[in-house]
């Protein structure tokens, strides 16, 4: 007799019901989405009658996870950015310079006068007057080193100091670079997330990719250009002392000074002290506002240390101009009329209201630690996604119908059972996709359609085997049992090999291709499950009720 223990029946039916209940919300996609958005909004901003109404679009006790739609189906903007971590090395070394200078000054008797030299990126070079004091100088600078705290860089120092003739070279150690890269990327991720959140779009994907890349996907955004404008700006704000103003772009600034162009005035340049008085990192707030003439401006507020530094500097330099610099361009260079002790101020320039709003957003979110290069950008219009979903839906239905008819014609009653299993199978794929929060892409839909075609394979293997056993003269129960037993190794081997390729696709693919790998892999799992357990259970139910003397497969 066909063996199918009760506990196994319960587990199989339970799993199917679980899978299907996870799939159900996808049948009511817009309503469930409304419900989920409302739930998120209530969580974050509190309840309003409208939100409560939206929330009730879907019962709260029902599962509400949906299959995420990929960018190619929903439309939106996609960027792949590479962070120029080298920028940060420079900043680190610049920040180190005053300490090095002070350390060497303490050794002035042995070292003599010191001078910072121009150096290639990632190095700090200092010439000392008295090469005989090199040993002492190196020791003094090495004192500044501190251990790196990372898993890989245990025991390593953050800087490497070397001396040759009369020049000391300081650079970041390998371990420190790795640690810095990591920190830079984390910071960039955080700041990009804040900026994107300020715009208030739903479910952006912002994730690190590889060593120094960041993938940003924002559904529903008009274009990649908009996104680029939002996150491509470093928004490094500094307040620097002005040395002179000039219209000659070939002016050679003195050491530790720099020549920067004006943002509004064509052909005007400023020579500035390179070391800023205060930077944007010391801002606590920034708001779009208007100046006394009613022109758009941005008002800002420093934190305590920033306010103290700014107050001290303005008090000491009344009458002198200072420059407000944003990403290497001078926004304005007002004269200090009186000390500004309160730590708040206003940036004026040739702004539109939109400019000032954006600048305030950027200043609030904070500056990116390094610039980014964009390696890849995609804008997908929502109508293309909608067309793709529609085409995918029709193709799936037709494929479905074709396969169902084909199977019914080929295997009769058994074919109908396989068909029921196939329908459950697609339901289970959707249930799993929702449960693990996978993203459905256009190739992913193709993966599901392919699964519809291939999912019957396991059943076909079994049915063909049962046919053979019947032909070999076995009784119905024995034929069914042997059919399953003998087909099993072929089913397992065939599906494991396909599964291996799906895993490789998932590991190596990106975006849409990954979506395909996911649906293909899930389709393999569910189709083996449905063929081995579900169709078999159906056959057993049927067999127990009818007890046929002969079977026709």
């Amino acid at each position: 007799m066909l063996q199918y223990p009760l506990w196994r029946r319960i587990v199989v039916i339970g799993l199917v019901l679980l899978g299907l209940s996870a799939a159900i919300p996808n049948l009511f996609y817009p309503r469930v989405e409304l419900h989920n958005d409302a739930a998120a909004a209530i969580e974050q901003f509190g309840s309003t009658p409208e939100r409560e109404a939206d929330l009730s679009a879907w019962p709260t006790w029902m599962p509400s996870s949906l299959v995420n739609l990929g960018l190619d189906l929903r439309g939106g903007a996609h960027l792949l950015a590479e962070v120029r971590v080298e920028d940060v090395y420079e900043h680190r070394l610049d920040a180190l310079w005053p300490e090095v200078r002070d350390a060497l000054r303490d050794e002035r008797d042995a070292v003599g006068a010191i001078q910072r030299l121009d150096a290639p990126g990632g190095e700090l070079r200092v010439r000392i007057e008295n090469p005989a004091g090199m040993g002492q100088a190196l020791a003094a600078v090495r004192e500044l080193a501190s251990p790196v705290v990372t898993l890989t860089g245990m025991g390593a120092n953050d800087i490497e100091v070397a001396g040759q003739d009369d020049v000391i070279t300081v650079q970041l150690s390998e371990a420190e670079r790795v640690a810095t890269d990591d920190r830079t990327i984390q910071q960039s991720l955080e700041i990009i997330r804040r900026r994107v959140d300020e715009v208030g779009t739903r479910e952006p994907t912002i994730q690190r990719q590889g060593e120094r890349r960041i993938l940003i996907q924002v559904p529903g955004l008009g274009s990649a250009d908009e996104l680029k404008a939002l996150i491509g700006t470093t928004a490094q704000l500094t307040f620097q002392p002005v040395v002179t103003r000039t219209t000659d772009p070939s002016t050679r600034p003195a050491p530790r000074q720099e020549l920067l162009p004006s943002l509004d005035e064509e052909g005007v340049f400023y020579v500035l002290e390179q070391t800023p008085v205060v930077t944007g990192e010391e801002l606590t707030n920034a708001q779009p506002s208007f100046d006394q003439n009613g022109r758009p401006a941005v008002s800002f507020q420093f934190n305590v240390t920033g306010a103290r530094k700014f107050g001290a500097y303005t008090a000491a330099n009344v009458g002198a101009p200072f420059a407000i610099v944003l990403d290497g361009e001078v926004i304005s260079a007002p004269r200090i009329n009186e000390p500004i002790p309160g730590g708040s101020g206003i940036i004026t320039g040739n702004f539109t209201v939109e400019d000032s709003t954006n600048l305030a957003v950027l200043l609030r979110a904070g500056a990116l630690p390094a610039e980014m290069t964009f390696l890849e950008e995609r804008t997908i219009g929502p109508e293309l996604g909608a067309d793709s979903i529609e085409a995918g839906r029709i193709a799936s239905l037709v494929a479905f119908a074709g396969v169902l008819i084909f199977m019914a014609l080929a295997y009769g009653r058994f074919g109908l059972m396989a068909n029921l299993a196939l329908i459950l199978n697609v339901g289970l794929v959707f249930g799993l996709l929702s449960a693990i929060g996978a993203t459905l892409t256009l190739p992913g839909i193709a993966g599901i359609v392919l699964t519809i075609g291939m999912a019957v394979d396991a059943n076909v293997l079994v049915f063909e085997r049962i046919r053979e056993e019947v032909r070999a003269g076995r009784g119905p129960a024995r034929a069914i049992e042997l059919g399953y037993e003998k087909a099993l190794s072929a089913i397992i081997d065939a599906n494991i090999t396909t599964f291996i390729t799906a895993v490789i696709l998932f590991l190596m693919g990106s975006g849409p291709v990954k979506g395909f790998a996911v649906t293909l892999a899930l389709g393999i799992i569910t189709s083996v499950f449905t063929a081995i357990y579900i169709t078999r259970l159906m056959i057993v139910f049927w067999f127990e009720r009818r007890r046929p003397k002969t079977i026709e497969v």
Binding site: T379, I380, G381, F406, D457, E464, S489, D493, A494, T497
Partner: protein
């Protein structure tokens, strides 16, 4: 009455014309390599960098006018092609504009895209830009390498798996068949100059999976029959096994093709290349599991004594059955 693709008992001789079938496969294989070398693949921006813009207009696409409008911008190689799809509305006219990567810029500058869009608006005022995708040369170079690695990794993984589960001759036969399938599919893309992008790599890997699926089912039966018919000629064993699995092979290929054809016709133009590759792969994968994989197995020969313990390989899953 049942629908049957083949009779219950078939007794076809698949190796009677071995020189012809192997020769045919060999010719296709060499032809595909030649096509790849001399005609080259029509790489999409994923692999070669550049920008594609998908446009949609209510009036018919005039490729010449588009080209003339963009030419003065001096963007180098620009290709414009109209897209057709049975799913489009009457007055839906879609074109793809592809621009090569500009110098050593990573991603395209917004000004470039705006210039192209303005130029196209000047010839087709109602034109809309449905999607704009741009890939820099750095990423596209890496994508090519990743794609090659992933196909090689898939083949290697499969080689090892089949070797463990069967014998090395089976592994070689199966891998020969799927290399055959992948190369010939690539050759077909070279001949037809269909755009070759990341999705096609996904299709190639699926072909690897499918081709193998089919081959493994045949091999599984071969292994079983080798145990049953200890003295039968290997050629006979192979023939019997292929005949016994023929019905299943055609059923599965049939349902898969049904699904794929539905996708080709109705699935929209965006994934047509991808689905086409898979459809071709299913056909050639079915062919190769008999005429390449099994034929190579026949040439290599296999050990005949399967009664020893490692004959367990085929039944070690038997106790997990339901």
């Amino acid at each position: 009455m049942r629908l049957k693709l083949v009779a219950d008992e078939t007794n076809w001789d698949f190796f009677g014309r071995l020189p012809i079938t192997l020769g045919f496969s060999g010719l296709m294989f060499v032809g595909a390599i030649l096509a790849f070398l001399f005609m080259g693949l029509n790489f999409g921006i994923d692999f070669r960098g550049g920008t594609t813009i998908r446009t949609e207009a209510r009036v018919a696409v005039d490729v010449g006018a588009y080209r003339d409008a963009i030419a003065p911008l001096g963007l180098g190689d620009v290709s414009i092609s109209e897209v057709f799809d049975p799913g489009f509305d009457e007055d839906q006219h879609v074109a793809m504009v592809r621009i090569q990567a500009q110098g050593d810029e990573e991603s395209v500058r917004p000004e470039t895209i705006q210039a192209v869009q303005a130029a196209l608006r000047s010839v087709a005022p109602q034109i809309r830009f449905i999607s704009v995708e741009s890939v820099g040369p750095k990423v596209s170079g890496e994508l090519i390498m990743t794609a090659i690695y992933s196909v090689l990794a898939a083949i290697a993984a499969v080689l090892v798996y089949i070797w463990l589960r069967f014998e090395w001759q089976f592994a070689l036969g199966a891998v020969a068949a799927l290399v055959h399938d992948v190369i010939i599919t690539i050759g077909l893309f070279a001949v037809l100059q269909i755009q070759f992008d990341l999705a096609i790599i996904a299709a190639l890997l699926t072909i690897v999976g499918y081709s193998l699926n089919d081959t493994v089912v045949v091999f599984d039966r071969v292994r079983e029959n080798l145990r049953r018919y200890k003295v039968m000629d290997l050629k006979e064993v192979l023939n019997v096994s292929i005949n016994e699995t023929m019905s299943r092979t055609l059923m599965t290929s049939g349902t898969t093709l049904l699904a794929l054809i539905a996708l080709i016709v109705l699935g929209g133009d965006v994934i047509r290349g991808f689905v086409f590759a898979m459809t071709f792969g299913v056909v050639i994968g079915t062919y190769s599991s008999v005429f390449v994989a099994s034929a190579i197995l026949l040439k290599l020969g296999v050990k005949r004594d399967w009664s020893k313990p490692d004959g367990e390989a085929g039944t070690q899953f038997a106790d997990v059955d339901a």
